[in-house]
């Protein structure tokens, strides 16, 4: 059974035509199912849990990369659920990595059901697909219980990556059983049109602890959920079942 979850920004009139075409194609392919549109009043967690209770086997997200990121942390606890993705909207870099074309063409990928298992990052019982953003760099990260590291440059940014940093153009293999702690520095010089970053350090690991002696540092999961230090980060191998296209790059 399929269950389609529409992001709230799709209520904009400019997506009306695309959505009607997608709905018609879904119907033609015989993969139609229940539909839910996200609003301020509808809690995504409740929608996902309710959907799984009702026996949905495939949850399909219609939206952009951010929508996918939001859904993943709620889908991850249900190992049998398969996640589908129909990209619509401005940010589609993850869709391209997964080999899913935007809009109508994604319905055909969905109907072919080529399922791939991806690792997820897990921090204090919450999951992330892309990255964990450490909002301050006065932390110490202890990797695999063997060594620890900290940054010595105040402007450095710390990220824990599974799939990578779409905004900064860094991608890792989400099927290698490892997470990567990445230190990035803001590039010096003028660039009015784009924020640019320079990659500094990479530490692959399976388990890590993020600690800060002076304060509780907020950690941002996939740019949305907030967790505070001290935090235990680990890899959850093959936790996500996701439908991909044959032109996928990962």
């Amino acid at each position: 059974m399929y269950h389609y979850i529409y992001d709230s920004f799709l209520s904009d009139k400019r997506y009306e035509n695309d959505l009607s075409l997608i709905e018609a194609r879904i119907l033609a392919l015989g993969i139609n199912g229940r539909m839910d549109k996200l609003t301020i009043l509808k809690n995504l967690k409740e929608i996902v849990e309710d959907s799984v209770k009702r026996g949905a086997e495939t949850l399909v997200v219609i939206g952009d990369d951010m929508t996918l990121g939001k859904v993943i942390s709620y889908v991850a606890p249900f190992r049998k659920v398969i996640l589908g993705y129909i990209p619509l909207g401005p940010k589609q870099s993850i869709a391209r990595l997964l080999g899913i074309p935007g809009g109508l063409a994604a319905c055909d990928i969905l109907s072919k059901r080529m399922v791939k298992k991806f690792d997820l990052g897990k921090v204090n019982e919450k999951y992330f697909l892309f990255s964990l953003n450490v909002t301050k760099n006065n932390v110490v990260i202890e990797c695999d219980g063997n060594y620890n590291f900290k940054t010595v440059v105040p402007s450095s940014l710390l990220r824990i990556c599974n799939l990578g940093l779409p905004e900064e153009g860094v991608f890792f293999n989400p099927g290698d059983g490892l997470l990567e702690a990445v230190v990035v520095n803001r590039s010096t010089g003028w660039n009015f049109f784009k924020k640019s970053y320079k990659k500094d350090s990479i530490f692959p690991f399976k388990k890590a602890k993020i600690k800060c002696e002076t304060e509780c540092v907020p950690l941002l999961l996939d740019g949305q959920t907030v967790v505070k230090t001290p935090a235990a980060v680990e890899i959850a191998p093959g936790r996500l079942n996701i439908i991909v296209g044959k032109d996928r790059k990962i």
Binding site: N146, F149, T151, L163, K199, S201, F203, P204
Partner: protein
């Protein structure tokens, strides 16, 4: 190393950059690039590249080391240790092949290890060519 313009993923390789300080027993199965500070031990089954800005206070063990920074500790290399002109090593060295560029500093005991040949012969190709020359004469 990174392909920021193209959306491709890269295989995990450890990079200790100049803005990072590492403490502890660092072990890896892949290539390691060091441009920052490391204290403790470093062990990898593959290659280590140490940049000119790197400061290492550790015993280092690897297959090949390309060294341009500073190491204070013992170095054990099963294949080749290459010291560039900016390299400094304060500690004992064990290597199969050692190459030191002009200006490179090595303060410590140096021991050349002979690579064990599974057939128990030394450079079989070299001896074979000499034998051929003798036979021609």
């Amino acid at each position: 190393m990174f392909k920021s313009d193209q959306e491709t993923y890269k295989e995990a390789e450890t990079v200790i950059g100049p803005s990072v300080k590492v403490e502890g027993n660092f072990a890896s199965d892949g290539d390691v690039v060091i441009e920052g500070q490391l204290t403790g031990t470093l062990k990898t089954s593959k290659n280590v590249k140490i940049g000119a800005s790197a400061r290492i206070k550790a015993d280092v063990e690897a297959t090949n080391i390309f060294q341009a920074g500073e190491i204070r500790g013992n170095v054990k290399v099963s294949e080749k240790l290459q010291l560039k002109s900016t390299a400094k090593i304060f500690g004992n060295v064990e290597a199969n092949i050692l190459s030191v560029d002009e200006g490179g500093i090595l303060n410590g005991k140096c021991q050349m290890m002979k690579k064990e040949n599974p057939a128990g012969e030394q450079n079989p190709d070299l001896f074979a060519s000499e034998d051929k020359k003798k036979n021609k004469k």
